[in-house]
């Protein structure tokens, strides 16, 4: 995994944030135009989100983040909007895998300790989220080694290119 430190503000969402909330079906026609689709990211959960978010900020969810569709466009536009990482108590399976494939860190941790607007600093290799406003540290679960390998290669496309196939 990359050693970079991420720093930004938290945008807090609840449980069960579906891919329909992240990348609404009514923008289906924009799926071949990700920069345009990214202008609507999370629109049905928070209509102002795309305007408010700044590069490096974090999306913080509750349980079962990303449930629903297989659409990889959901994590792809979160990343494209500049989000540094998605933090949640738990993730839906396909969304979690898609995050790794597109190179968006998805961290499983106790998000009850984070409030909307908290400034966070995350060192991915360290395994801790520092809440700069509260002075607390939150541990996040390490990724499975296979996913670390894919993420450290820069996502699945790069992994396959580099290894001419799987090397897991």
């Amino acid at each position: 995994m990359k050693n970079q430190a991420l720093e930004g503000k938290s945008f807090k969402f609840g449980d069960d944030i579906s891919t329909d909330l992240i990348a609404p079906g009514r923008y289906f026609h924009l799926r071949s135009n990700l920069p345009e689709l990214a202008k609507h990211v999370l629109e049905d959960a928070d209509p102002q989100f795309a305007q408010k978010v700044r590069p490096g900020d974090f999306v913080v969810g509750g349980r079962n983040f990303g449930l629903g569709s297989s659409r990889e466009h959901a994590p792809a536009i979160i990343k494209l909007a500049g989000i540094g990482a998605v933090l949640a108590k738990s993730f839906a399976r396909i969304f979690f895998r898609n995050c790794i494939n597109v190179g968006l860190p998805a961290l499983i941790c106790d998000t009850d300790q984070i409030e909307e607007g908290d400034n966070l600093k995350i060192d991915l290799s360290e395994g801790f989220i520092h809440n700069l406003d509260k002075g607390t540290q939150i541990k996040f679960n390490p990724l499975p080694p296979v996913m670390i390998k894919i993420l450290s290669d820069g996502g699945l496309t790069e992994h396959i290119k580099k290894n001419k196939g799987f090397n897991l």
């Binding site: 079906g25 009514r26 659409r71 990889e72 738990s90 399976r93 396959i160 290119k161």
Partner: protein, 418 residues
């Protein structure tokens, strides 16, 4: 070692025997994407530097989510898929053929296959005894190019279903009940394996409905053992030769066993805005509907349309209610025409659409207005699912849908079924 169905199928496709928790790189038999996820898969294949697909005959691009196309951007996306197929020999299932998951079970999937698809309801094929699971476009791009993927072998929740359903209760009610029990993330990373005496007599259509919604409990796949019913189904699709017996070993290690008494279940409804927000129809109260939708990869099969027609025949859809019916495939459509089902539905007031996903994804055909309520036989009722975040989707069986269309509110099919 005794194995679950998931462990058996994955072991047969990996380099060595595997069990729950292991990671394996496996060969895949069938790979697919649809018009919402396919264009991204195509661009990822190109980024990886591949210019061909490994198994063209079982690599399929489905044009079903926005078919026929409602706007030029989507028409252009469809062109990308057709051009890719032309170049690589991959298959196209074009406008009017039907919903990907229905076509997969009719034409492509066999027991003991591993099927990966860029659509979360790929788990539908689990009903044939195939390990079938949804993934994103990049995973599917790799699947197209290499006919391989990596998997974590899932732990399995065994669901034993006993007893006979009462009047007005169908597979859709059963799976909504089960999801209410497991919750929308209770089976995350796991396989659901359905068995028990009720399953032994269950039609393939019923099994497809149940496997289809496994992902609504978070599951990776929803598996049934293959048996004589599976064999007869494959024979009816002229694919009897691909039948193999797939079943769990006696004494396989399940993470959890859930026992369900089918006879105790009532007609069930998923209320807005999550599938696990369930209620029996008795407890629902009177909910007026503006639109009723019968179709999708969950409940757009021949038996579903026949059941709806048996209720609607000789009756009229209530004033102010729109009834939209979408056969799951061209084959379903033709059979429904031959049997007079389409005529009965149309005479009752239904609008019949071309086979495909229909209004389920909110792209076209039946987008809800502000504050409107739809009762649908689809698998999902999230905010915005049918194209408008200010609308309300309830899920129920085709019988509940048909009777609700007549009454104008969500109505109990036990009132009409004898």
């Amino acid at each position: 070692m005794k194995k679950t169905i998931a462990e058996k199928i994955i072991s047969a496709h990996a380099e060595s025997e595997v069990s729950a928790g292991d990671i394996a790189v496996v060969d895949v038999d069938v790979v697919m994407a649809q018009d919402g996820t396919g264009p991204l898969a195509v661009s990822q294949i190109e980024k990886m530097g591949f210019d061909r697909v490994k198994q063209p005959q079982s690599s399929i691009l489905f044009i079903d989510h926005a078919a026929p196309s409602p706007r030029k951007e989507l028409s252009n996306s469809h062109m990308v898929l057709r051009q890719f197929a032309e170049k690589t020999g991959a298959q196209v299932s074009d406008v009017g053929e039907g919903v990907c998951h229905q076509i997969l079970v009719e034409k492509y999937v066999c027991p003991n296959h591993i099927v990966i698809g860029a659509d979360s309801h790929t788990c539908t094929s689990g009903a044939l005894g195939a390990f079938a699971t949804g993934m994103g476009s990049t995973d599917i791009a790799v699947g197209f190019a290499l006919a391989k993927t990596w998997l974590m072998v899932p732990h399995t929740i065994r669901v034993n279903i006993e007893g006979t359903p009462g009047k007005g209760v169908f597979a859709k009610d059963l799976i909504i009940f089960i999801i209410g029990k497991i919750t929308s993330d209770g089976a995350t990373y796991k396989a659901l394996e359905f068995g028990g005496s009720a399953v032994e007599h269950m039609t393939m259509d019923d099994r497809f409905t149940i496997s289809n919604m496994a992902v609504e409990a978070g599951a990776k796949t929803g598996l049934f053992a293959s048996d004589d019913i599976t064999k007869k189904y494959l024979e009816s699709m002229d694919r009897g030769d691909c039948f193999t017996n797939v079943y769990p070993d006696e004494g396989a290690a399940y993470q959890e066993v859930i026992d369900i008494d089918y006879s105790a279940i009532k007609p069930m409804i998923s209320k807005p805005h999550t599938v696990d927000n369930v209620s029996s129809i008795d407890e629902l109260g009177k909910i007026k509907v503006d639109q009723v939708f019968i179709g999708t990869c969950t409940n757009g099969r021949l038996s579903d349309l026949a059941l709806a027609a048996s209720i609607l025949k000789g009756r009229k859809v209530a004033p102010g209610v729109r009834l939209i019916v979408v056969p799951a495939s061209r084959k379903v459509y033709l059979e429904a025409m031959d049997k007079g089902i389409i005529k009965d539905l149309t005479e009752s007031g239904a609008a019949i659409m071309a086979p495909g996903c229909g209004p389920c994804v909110g792209v076209h055909e039946g987008i809800l207005g502000d504050g409107e309520v739809c009762l649908s036989t689809q698998n999902r009722n999230f905010v915005g699912r049918m194209g408008n975040p200010n609308s309300f989707i309830y899920l129920g069986s085709p019988a509940t849908a048909a009777w609700s269309a007549v009454k104008g509110y969500i109505a109990d099919p036990r009132e009409v079924l004898v």
